[in-house]
Chain length 198, copies 2
């Protein structure tokens, strides 16, 4: 019997590679977690479907978005707020009934991170395997795999269609505090969106 | 062009799964590092060939075996000695000309471990990607993958044919200090040897 796996999916290169690495071993569903603030999850669905993966949406608690936005305003930078949302998304994915869940966190990521203790706790509390297939890959290996298997568009966050938590958090802050506030809180950051899996 | 990858290979389940995870993305050679103390590397070769992988031996410096054995005697336990040998084997593999190298270290392993800083240093000094594909897998996920893809024999270290460093270090200590010394220094430990990849 093939084990079911839900991969937290943004449509970016990391979560796409995570899915490709595990696809020979699991029955993979790409799962995009969102607060219902924007329709950006549709970009992830388009990539998932063009790559032949099953796709599901995972509804997050809007209260966590509020908490994350407050945290980002207080900190003056997004790291801890995004970490908060990722931990919530992992909890929701772990409750969704898959045998295993995965994400695209890499060895060199500063955020989100999932410690060994957090991983073990998630597994023990939910009876699920948590897998971070890219956590043993450095930036160079990820770049070379991307080049060999994916077509991507890359650019500043505000120009790239994607479905990560940051997009919704930025939208909330833009609506409440204005675009200038977003530019002040979120550092310039190149995002990728996968347009095709080869 | 497919990238070449050398996987440090013992014939056990972890290094076999590491190879299977990366095989769709790299031109994989299973590489068994040894000191030339025993012929145990042939067990790894047999498994590698039956699974259809290319196989190479990697000659380690016998001076490192001497150093590791001294460390194990001084410590009274094998952990640091085995770590020493693994770091040496990674250096040798990194010099062997592959585009990337990998090992079977898992999230929950206490030994060997490769820190993020060690990985980065290895990559920077040798111009090679270092990948630990199982470092994001816990024990449960590894056990379930093993069950679905591998036939294994499992038992106490002294009864299982295998080609890890421990086997050669145990042999050296047995020859120099007697079997009783081996039992005193190495805790009871279940080893696996892969007999077939499905």
């Amino acid at each position: 019997m093939t084990l079911s796996l839900g991969v937290l999916y943004s449509g970016g290169k990391d979560s796409t590679l995570a899915a490709l690495l595990l696809a020979p071993f699991y029955d993979v569903t790409l799962t995009t977690a969102h607060f219902g603030v924007t329709d950006d999850w549709k970009h992830a669905r388009a990539t998932a479907e063009s790559a032949g993966f099953d796709f599901e949406r995972l509804q997050l608690d809007p209260g966590v978005a509020t908490e994350a936005v407050e945290r980002i305003r207080d900190d003056g930078f997004p790291r801890n707020g995004i970490q908060l949302v990722h931990e919530h998304a992992l909890e929701r994915a772990a409750e969704a009934g898959y045998d295993a869940i995965a994400d695209g966190t890499r060895r060199d990521d500063r955020v989100p991170t999932v410690s060994r203790a957090q991983a073990q706790s998630l597994e023990d509390r939910h009876g699920v395997d948590y897998i971070a297939p890219l956590s043993g890959f450095g930036r160079g290996a990820v770049d070379r795999l991307t080049e060999s298997r994916l077509d991507v568009t890359a650019g500043p966050s505000e120009e790239i269609p994607r479905a990560d938590y940051e997009a919704e958090l930025r939208t909330i802050i833009a609506e409440e505090d204005g675009e200038e506030a977003v530019r002040g809180l979120f550092p310039d950051h190149v995002q990728t969106h996968v347009t095709r899996v080869r």
